[in-house]
Symmetry: C2
Subunit: 345 residues, 2 copies
């Protein structure tokens, strides 16, 4: 039990969410409730996915980092990524905005148009929203998605499964550090942060062909999100550092820096998924037909926890915590990319 | 077109929303998009309702006004009221919270438990959410509701229809002024503000029996919300001031003060609806079986605009604007209950 003086910063987001177990919630129509990328509900005969995520000015973005339209596109993408992780298709969107009365009309319209355009490109309709006054900009999005196939959950990973990730890891966090002025870099190197691509096609393929046993999107950082799969599935994992797909944009960095960005940077919005051994050939065949590469980065193992195995003879033991806005240090503006991975021996 | 220097405070919320017409939105599955209490979408064979509303600390509430659980209950109620206005049933809820890292765990849990309990009492399941860091508390709610009957829209009112409202008007705004320290009153007199009751049963009855031609919930104020019905339906309305159902709690106020609270106070979350003449007897019969009273307060007429007819010989011309957080004056802490109704002769 939480004691009455405890603050959110003592528990962190994930610790706090754990205290909510035991809430009495009606079960009618709920297949998957709190705790996965999306909720899965029954509407009539079909299965539908519900998800929400918010972007807060000064925490998740600064307005000068992108055009209003780009910010709107990003707000759609980070939410659609949760639908992608379940193998579904975003269909209907609500956009709840809180902005100061001094906000420029042109800026607000740009944001909404960017959001609606990104949604429209994914065949998702912006059907409503809300506008409130607030000292800071805040963008809350809710998506209702269709699950044409059985949704991919976090809980299906089994020992022996292969661990895969789409795209490349670390470029988004690298871009964020450039935007924050903590690293030097070009505008182009910030693009992966500013304009993530939800992996909707890949997610649908994985669900339709039943190739993946579990999936999640990489939003908080590879280790943190892999930790969610491990806890939900009751398994451990081994990640091979040398197999991590690093983007060319990180080539100039030191090896340790690169590894930290890839393991704990977050904001990549790639899919991390597990594949049973007998489905690996099917995956490799199917992924060749998609625009996004997938890379085997490790294995699911019995037990608990995640080991990161580096160059021969080197071993990293990883804490599974990724970026958490509430944990001690968030107030000290600790860069999101500071690693939680600790080197052993 | 909005010009590039215009600020939100120049246009107000409703003026701004008008600039969004022309957004290109996919139509597949969308029966009613932006502009009613809820969106109406098709999920498989059924019709479903989507709505979102937010409460921002310092704008919509202060934390000392109620217990955390009470605030959570209110957050559910104001959203469920939009589902009630369409005649549906809330089924699934998402709760997106933004709070400071210094927030007490007990307070946050109380809010979520209050929300889940109020939702559960309406057979609605809290299925997911999101927790972000923010300097101020902000509560964003999204509901997915089932429309068992054809949804009640704002656009169905016809000249000759009778205008009805449920419950009583003005007590919520009166309670809010007490909480703001602008009026004297007891804690009990603030209850209608703190704990609104969404009129779900009434809404469902109106939709199921096709008794109402149009409906909306009274959130911004009677005149403002009636204005939405009039604009959406292309009609005008006459409200008879002496018929307005005033609560006993306003008895000690002057006549003008009472009228202003009832016409423009807002936050009542009662249903305002129109009934064709041939359905009036059916309504009166059916409403006797519900716990909430309904009162005929005027008529729908040809033309535009709303007239408020007072005591014999007295006439009020009403602007239809109600509470708008963004219009000039919002920054000057103008009480939400200052009337926009102007007396004529």
């Amino acid at each position: 039990m939480a004691n009455s003086r405890q603050r959110l910063s003592d528990l962190g987001e994930f610790g706090f969410l754990a205290t909510l177990r035991g809430l009495r919630i009606p079960r009618r129509g709920v297949e998957v409730g709190i705790g996965d990328d999306c909720a899965v509900v029954r509407c009539g005969a079909g299965r539908w996915l519900l998800t929400t995520d918010a972007l807060v000015e000064g925490i998740h973005f600064r307005r000068r980092w992108d055009t209003p339209s780009g910010l709107g596109r990003r707000a759609f993408a980070v939410n659609a990524s949760d639908i992608a992780a379940m193998g579904g298709s975003p269909r209907f969107a609500l956009l709840s905005l809180a902005v100061p009365a001094s906000a420029r009309v042109s800026e607000l319209r740009g944001l909404i148009r960017g959001f609606a355009a990104a949604a429209g490109a994914a065949a998702c309709a912006l059907v409503g929203g809300n506008l409130s006054a607030s000292p800071r900009w805040m963008i809350s999005v809710m998506l209702l998605g269709a699950a044409e196939s059985r949704p991919l959950l976090r809980s299906g990973a089994r020992p022996g499964d292969h661990l895969y990730v789409s795209g490349r890891l670390g470029a988004a966090a690298f871009g964020r550090e450039i935007l924050l002025g903590r690293r030097r870099g070009t505008r182009r190197q910030t693009a992966r942060f500013r304009r993530p691509s939800p992996r909707l096609e890949l997610g649908r393929m994985l669900a339709r062909t039943r190739t993946a046993s579990a999936a999640i999107d990489v939003s908080d950082g590879l280790l943190s999100d892999l930790g969610h799969i491990c806890r939900a599935s009751g398994v451990g994992a081994v990640v091979e550092a040398r197999r991590l797909p690093l983007p060319a944009t990180l080539a100039a960095l030191g090896a340790e820096d690169r590894l930290r960005l890839a393991l704990s940077g977050g904001e990549d919005y790639e899919l991390l998924f597990t594949v049973p051994p007998h489905r690996v050939r099917a995956l490799e065949a199917a992924s060749g037909r998609l625009a996004v590469p997938v890379t085997a980065i490790g294995r699911v193992v019995r037990g608990r926890g995640i080991s990161v195995v580096g160059a021969p003879g080197e071993r990293l033991a990883a804490e599974t915590a990724g970026h958490d806005h509430f944990r001690a240090g968030a107030g000290r503006r600790r860069p999101a990319t500071i690693p939680r991975a600790r080197k052993l021996r």
